[in-house]
Amino acid sequence: MERTGADIRFENATVTYPNGHAGLKGITLDIPAGQMVGVVGLSGAGKSTLVRTINGLVPLSAGSIAVGGHTLTGRGGTQLRGRELRELRSNVGMVFQSFNLAKRTTVINNVLMGRLYHSPAWRTLLGAWKNDDVELAMRALERVEIVGKAYEPAASLSGGQQQRVAIARALAQRPQVILADEPVASLDPPTSHVVMRDLARINAELGITVVVNLHFLDLARTYSERLIGMRAGEIVFDGTGAEADEAVFESIYGRSLTAEDVLEARAEL
């Protein structure tokens, strides 16, 4: 029943924010289906902008991004909108730093949000979900080993549990791509590893393409087969974790590596 991942192809992708700030400076990047990519860089480097263009949360100013069978373009081209944009988004799950759950409703209701694209309006309005959708949501919760909490309010869960619910919500979409924007930045080190392992397992078992922004270099090296370093809206490194030596760190961070840049060192403090 699961589908395989999708390619993501950036062509000169450019984002200029309304205030004139250049978020992405003509990125060209090819991510093959089923790859797990870690994106690292300083705060403000453009990591969030990069992943948020992939599902159209941030519109391109120029260039294009092809995801699966869809192409997002800048203002010059025919921008994806309406149902077509929503169809692209339904194939792309997203995990956020602050979990982005509706805290006052149940875990299962949160996971079912991953089925909204496929649910007719009347069912959505009445909250009358199809049995198939509930089944998909339950299976997604089983995959992140938190199905026992299905009928608890999301607010009653710990941070790590909430992030796993958010991953289940993305999985319930049966996506071809999962984007994660600093998914462990609000979690303690042991919980960070649990969440990263979940993402890596999903990538390995389901073949879903995963793009994950990480502030910490060591996490990115441990869990991703490919590392992309960003600085000031540009890609300054693209290779494996093993290739990322001290000189590469300097090119990404503009200085040598410090304890601030790795999770384990911070955990020891």
Binding site: N100, A102, L116, A121, L269
Partner: protein, 270 residues
């Protein structure tokens, strides 16, 4: 750790001086007092009138202190009508208000022209007092409970939409963003991500509106819009102050009891 914190340490360690607030407060009191005096002069408040009419006042007050309990059975239909009006208006008003509140909040309605139009309409609806709605509707629809219910519904929509759309404005938008990112429509995202978040404050608003309606439904009756108000108007125009006294007592008890119930419920909600 200690090194990183070092530069800011002396600043955080110093006691700040107490911020001064005294003068603006005093100035505000003076301004408010001046406005009140000016307003009193404007409407020609005549304190002496109370002195001139005191005999009349004593007679009427004595009558008002002696309710005519035998009149009670005759007030029951009007009392029930008032309650019915309040319940029906609260129900219909709330149903209409939920979609309108989502259209009136910046957080849930991305369509700027529509947002502006809905907000403008809501401001208009809210700017008309309930008793005026009742007077107009009695003229258009006729004397009776229907006019009263319609007046209360308009009045309620104005209140609930304002308060609920403000609750939506203040709500965290993370879950809505996640739903939109999963391919949901705005309606779908608002229904599944925003509605559960504001449900407690919506329920509280509805109960509060019901409390207001109990009181308002007695007043709007005075212009013919059904319920106890019509009865009040009748007995008052025949100077039957013992009977008026009983009606006032009934309203007092009803409002106190229902308000106590409703606020007990509301406390458990939020």
């Amino acid at each position: 750790m200690s090194q990183a914190a070092a530069p800011s340490a002396p600043y955080m360690g110093q006691r700040p001086s107490k911020p001064r607030r005294g003068r603006p407060t005093a100035a505000a009191v003076v301004v408010l007092a001046a406005i009140t005096v000016w307003a009193g002069l404007g409407v020609g408040v005549d304190l002496a009138a109370i002195g001139r009419n005191w005999q009349n006042a004593v007679v009427n007050t004595t009558q008002l202190l002696q309710p005519d309990y035998a009149f009670f059975p005759k007030t029951i239909p009007a009392l029930l009508e008032t309650l019915n009006m309040a319940v029906i208006a609260t129900f219909i008003g709330s149903l209409l208000s939920v979609p309108l509140a989502f259209l009136a909040s910046r957080a849930t309605n991305p369509n700027a022209p529509l947002l502006g139009a809905v907000r403008f309409g809501m401001n208009l609806i809210r700017s008309v007092p309930d008793i005026l709605y009742a007077a107009i509707l009695v003229a258009v629809v006729g004397v009776g409970a229907l006019s009263g219910i319609m007046a209360l519904v308009l009045f309620n929509v104005g209140i609930i939409v304002k308060l609920v759309s403000e609750a939506l404005d203040a709500e965290d938008l993370g879950a809505q963003e996640a739903a939109l990112a999963a391919g949901a429509t705005w309606t779908g995202a608002n229904r599944s991500a925003m509605l559960p978040q504001i449900l407690p404050s919506l329920a509280s608003q509805v109960l509060y509106t019901f409390e207001i309606n109990i009181r308002a439904s007695t007043v709007i009756g005075l212009v013919g819009a059904g319920g106890l108000g019509i009865l009040i108007d009748n007995v008052r125009s025949f100077f039957r102050y013992h009977e008026l006294s009983l009606i006032i007592l009934e309203i007092l008890v009803m409002v106190l009891v229902l308000e106590a119930l409703s606020s007990a419920l509301r406390k458990r909600l939020v």
